[in-house]
Every structure is written in C-alpha cells, then in structure tokens.
Symmetry: C2
Subunit: 422 residues, 2 copies
C-alpha cells in the first residue's frame, strides 16, 4: 500500500524528482502553520529548495513514506535502517476525550514529520527536513482501546501467556500505546521521537523505549535479508505481497481458495507483537560454526537450509545423513518455527540492539523482534509455544520484554489514528 | 592523508570500481588467515564478489578508509554517520609486554575490519564484509604511555582541570585506552565493537562506552555542516586541509610564516579531547527562537553569524544594534569560543547521543564532543577556560564525562598502533 522507496531504483528518475518537488510544496504549506506558531522557518524551507540543484541522485533525505491511507505505514514498508520503539502509559484518569486529544496530536505530528515538515510548534524545525522514509506506526494496548470504545478490543489483545523461557522485566513489558518509529536518518528520527514524547507528555509517560538498527540504507542492494548479531540471515520466510501473502497474514483476508478463520479485528487493522530478546553472544561464540548451523538448520554464509544451496531453497525436513540422522535436527530453530498450517504465518520486522554493558560484561545485545499478524492467537501463539517448548536457539536467547498491540487502520488527511474507534 | 570517500562524487567512477576489486582481493587474502583459524568463509567472500554486478553505484558498504599510514584514520576523515567510543582500563599488573600484545591484537583487528575482512578467529565473519568507511582511532591514556615507554607521555596528557560548569560522573571519565570507532553502517560497527572488546578482554575491561550519531550517509550532500539536537548548525569553524590548517592545528606543524610553539608530541601524533555533554532540551525548548540565536550568536536556519547572511560569513563582533548593544552578545557562544590567537584552534568531530531516559524525563540527550589538536594546553584549554567562565550556552549544557588521550601515529602493514613507542 505504501510506497516502499527502498525498493525503487536509485537513479535520478523523473518520479524521484517530482517527489522532491512535492516535498518542497508540502514544506511551504507547513511554513504557514509554523508562522502561525510564531516560528520563522520559511527561510529554512527556501534554503532547502535552493540546495536542490546541488543534491545528487543518491540522496534519500527527502524520501517520504505517505502517512495517510487505509492502512498504517511501517508495516509492509521495507524496513528502514533505524528504529525507536516507544511504549507509553496513559496517565491516571485518562478518559476517551483525553485519549482522542492525544491521538489527534500525535497523528498530526506523525503526518508532518514523516512528510519532512516540522511539527506544529516545532522547536527545532530544521531537524524535521530529512524524513528519509520515516514512518510512525501506532499500536494500542487493551486499556486504551477499551477506554476509547468499550468492547472494541479484540480477544487476543492481552499479555502473552508466560513461557518457560521468559525472564521478563516488568519495566520492558506492556504499554497502553506503542509507537514504532522507523527511518533511514538517525537525526530526524531523534527529533521525531522527542516531538512525539513532548506532545504526549500531558497525557502519557514513557514506559519503555528501545532503539534498534539494521544495515544502513546504501550498504546492501534492496531486498537483501539482514543478519542479526549472531551473524544469521534473519527473516527469510516472509509473506509475499499480494493475496496469498500479506493480504491474508497481515490484513486478515484469506485467499478465496482457503477456508480460514482468520479475520481482521477491524478493516485495515492488524496486531503487533513485540518481544525484546537478549542474545548471549559470548555463549554463542563458543559454538563451532557447524554447531551454530545445526542450531538454526541453515548455513551461516548463505542462510540456505542445510538441505539446500540458496537462501530461498525449500527445506527438505525428511533428508537424513548417511548415518540416518535428520540433516535438519528435530530441535533446529527453522524446523520448530515453520508453519504447521496456513495460519501460522507472520510478517517479521525485527531490529538488532547493542547497548553499553552494565557490570563486567563486554556487551548487552539482542533483538527487538516485531511481528505483524491479523490474529495473535491463531498465527503467532502456536509458533511461539512450539519454540518455547523446544528450540536449540533458546540456549542463547532470552525474552526479557514483551508487549502486544492492536494496530488500528490508517487515517485520512484531517483524521487521526484510531478515529474509527472514536 | 586518508581517503575521504564521503567527499567523492557518488557515481560509479572507475576508481570506485577499482577500490571494490581491491577489497575483493583483500578479502581473499583474509580468507587464508580465516581458513587457518578453522573458519570457512571463503565461500562468503566468493558470494560477495558474485553480487557485485547487481550492486548499484550508490552503494557504499564496500567503501574502505585505509587503516595503515603515517597518521591514523578517523581524525581528518569526513565524519561517518555512526560512532562508538570505547574507553578501556588496563587490568591490574599490565606491563609493557602485555600492552604490546593488546595493541598488536587490536591493530590487527582494526586493519582487517576496516578493510571489510573478518578479524582473525572472527566468529561472525559475515558481519565484517560491509565496512562502509569504518575507522578505528586509538588514543592512549597516561598510564598506558608511561608503562609502554617511561617518560614518553606529553605534558598535556592528564585529566583536564576541573571547571565550575562540570558535573562529572567518574564512570564516564578517563580510560587507559580510547578507541574511537566510526562508520556508516551500524551493523558492521556493532560487530567491530564486539570483536575489539572480545580481543581486549584478557588485557583490559570497558570503563565507559558511548554511542553517537550524525546524519546518515546519503541524507545530505557531502560537506554540509551537521546540526546538533538543539537544532544548531554545529562545527562551522574548522581548520582547513593543508599547511595553514590541519597541518598546524592537528599535526603540530606551524606554517612557515608563523612563529608558534605548537609542536607534535610525536611525529604523526596528536591529542584527542573527549567531553560528554548533556544537553537540557526541555530548558532549551522554553527559549524563543531569538533567544536561542542570541545565546549562540548565529541564526538557527542558516548557522550564519547574526551579523551576516551565510554560514561561513565572517562575524562582525563590533557591530551594534541601533540602541548601541552588540549584535553578537558578550556572552554569546560564538564570541567566547573564537580563537584569540592562531594557536586556539582545534578540529572538532562531535556526535549526538539520545538515550532512553531514566526516571520521569522524556529524553537523555547530548553530545559526545571530540576535538583533535596537537597541544591540549595551548590550543584546547584557553578556549575551554573562557567558555567555562562565561558562555550563555552553559545554561543548557553540562559536561558529565571527560577524557584526554594521546593519539599516536598510524602504523605500517605488519606494525601496530603504538609501535613507535615500543
């Protein structure tokens, strides 16, 4: 639905130029709003325009992912290089009116900032001018949905059941409102993060915030599967665009040939499961390469199934070694994770994190695992239960944070995210 | 000295292609070393080569900043998008022999990783293949220099004197060895950080680690001055390349026409002053735009002196308003920071940081200020003293960390950083 500029050719296409012009125009529109807020950035936007002839075609600072539309951006959008995930708690006494005010404000901020325009009353408007494909994706917790529209929360909107592998830190779990900010420029992303938190402050306070990264834009050719900090190719099996893939898995519209109970909780909506997973790099590094590959069921160099040659080769789970053992072990991650039914699919959009270590260690690293699926109970949970029960990778991975959000549809210009519930 | 690829045209020049080939060759060389370490990444490097025809000219994953040479990289190198600064403490009982072993190891790692090759015994070799202009710059604390070569430490190699604006946290200060890692790809940077910390572990432990960012590569045209999180254009006044500029300021060779006491502590060496500066964004945002501009002495939109129109216009410090007040106030940052003598110059290479807030705040942001100059006492200190005494910006900025390092020259292939002191 959204324009995934990451997948476009990188040359100076006329389309690209016209998007720049579009932005310049949008910027001038935004300047009016700013002037009314007493901030004179009209000149800034002028300067930006004057610089255009000198810009080269590789530059993507002005690339825009449309915010408005029937579905939110940042879901099927090709993952940008940087993520900041913000989980907010509503202040005590929040009611439907104050929630609507909050959502209106944040939707307006998000619409402007993702378009490369300063937010209303933006105090650092110059930091807003390079959106670099920024997206802001809103997810609602049960309390928010039920306060806004009693009875509207889908049945799966609750904390995940406890799994025996979990070592959850309450401070890294939950949230009434989850904001997934993604973009290819860390500076405009930091600015957006601050603007959203500032405008949310009267209504909500940060519960947890987690940053993440993937390869910088321009490091790989578009479409290459990224690697996590274990060095694994991560995210190979994904629903494709189109009727049999994302339309079903993410948006809850089963293809005609499939008799499936999957339905969207609301048209244009989906769910977002977030798991903060600590990765024990020290322990992982003690494994020989062959041991790592056996744990996953894929080779490390290509990400190919151990029964194949290339990343996207279908795995042969029946193949055995000359001694009769399965080539892909019973406990291998890829065997345990594979779908047992057409429903057991999700769209993964995960990011690595790497924090300064506390104490004697040398790293505190892991992954912010983010999965989108129409129905948490039917799609995500069976896979997660199987992995919690048995998965060689569990030896080196520990879930420390967890949250589930209902993702409402997008909104039209003038509307706000959640207005269908209002 | 180093190739600053950021300043090159971004087209597919033959030079660019030949650098790729160079890298591929270097990679094959590295594979031999890996094979002897029992790691079969030969195929990986083969795959990388096979992908080349599909790569587009904008891709910079394979760009290499040469590690070897008479001066270290990462100093006059155009700043890359991401930084990780690692300050290490030597373990108790460290002697010259163990320090040499540490420096040999880390230099070998840095040489390989910056060339896009896995480190020796690299456990995630695939994460090393996109150096994206990575640099690793070594700085030595007094204890390291004096243990390695008694009497060799320059007089300025000690903690800075305490300034009344400081609120230093001991855990964010000092270090026996400072490693400035910079690169345009956060993934290969995370990998390099871990490899260096892993190999250092028997000899040294992390004292403090700080990440930082600037605009992503590809967001601005090369040469644009970045903005800090206050929205200010930051780093306009810099020594130029050449005899009157960096040769003097950074490397300690005064131009012939100048009778200056500045000398390098060692040929090809310099100093690195690191200050972790917390920025009070909430307080800053309470200022009107004109108040912010008065505090700096420059306008926000362009970074132009308040007496000029463009960023690089010379400031007129004698200009007055119709009422007779100075246009650039006495306490304005730019007036207080400007050089009073040819010696009072430094090369600044700072990065923003933006950490999840602890407690009730919405942000914990600031800047890792990094300055290179041949002589800390004659170049950095007079400016810092003046700013500590009076600078409007002090109201919203607080130094919370501080360190001074002696930067030794670069090394030749087969050598190690610090070998001139060995």
């Amino acid at each position: 639905m959204t324009r995934t500029t990451d997948q476009e050719p990188e040359g100076a296409s006329p389309e690209r130029v016209s998007r720049r012009r579009l932005l310049a125009t949008a910027g001038v529109g935004g300047a009016g709003a700013l002037a009314s807020a007493g901030i004179g950035v009209g000149t800034v936007l002028g300067v930006q325009a004057a610089r255009e002839p000198q810009e080269r075609s590789i530059q993507f600072g002005a690339d825009v992912e449309p915010f408005h539309g029937p579905r939110q951006a940042g879901i099927t959008t090709a993952p940008q290089a940087h993520l900041v995930f913000i989980a907010l708690d509503l202040r005590e006494g929040a009611d439907a009116r104050s929630i609507v005010r909050l959502l209106r404000l944040l939707s307006d901020d998000a619409a402007r900032l993702t378009a490369g325009e300063p937010a209303l009353a933006d105090t650092e408007p110059e930091l807003a001018l390079t959106p670099a494909s920024m997206t802001v994706t809103f997810g609602f917790g049960r309390r928010l949905v039920e306060t806004l529209s009693p009875g509207a929360a889908p049945e799966w909107l609750e904390e995940l059941p406890e799994f025996r592998i979990d070592e959850l830190d309450e401070e890294l779990c939950g949230g009434d409102l989850g904001l997934q900010l993604c973009g290819d420029d860390p500076v405009s992303l930091a600015h957006a993060r601050r603007m959203l938190l500032k405008d949310a402050r009267p209504y909500a306070r940060p519960r947890w915030i987690q940053e993440g990264f993937r390869p910088a834009r321009g490091v790989h050719r578009p479409g290459v599967t990224h690697r996590n900090l274990f060095g694994q190719v991560d995210g190979t099996v994904q629903p494709t665009a189109g009727d049999d893939g994302q339309e079903f898995v993410v948006w809850g519209h089963p293809p005609q040939h499939l008799d499936s109970p999957i339905r969207p909780w609301i048209e244009g909506g989906t769910s977002m499961v977030v798991r903060l997973i600590r990765m024990d790099l020290d322990g992982w590094d003690e494994l020989a390469r062959s041991g790592k590959e056996a744990a996953i069921g894929r080779d490390l160099s290509e990400g190919a199934p151990l029964t194949g040659e290339h990343e996207h080769d279908a795995a042969d789970f029946d193949a055995t070694t000359p001694l009769g053992f399965p080539v892909i072990e019973e406990s291998a991650h890829m065997r345990r994770a594979r779908a047992q039914s057409p429903e057991e699919q999700m769209l993964r959009r995960s990011y690595s994190y790497d924090r300064p270590p506390a104490g004697a260690g040398i790293s505190d690293s892991g992954q912010l695992f983010i999965a989108f699926q129409a129905d948490v109970i039917r799609q995500f949970l069976p896979v997660q239960r199987r992995l919690a029960e048995l998965d060689r990778l569990n030896e080196w991975t520990t879930p420390i944070g967890s949250a589930v959000f209902a993702v409402p549809p997008g909104c039209a210009p003038g509307g706000y995210i959640g207005d269908v519930l209002g």
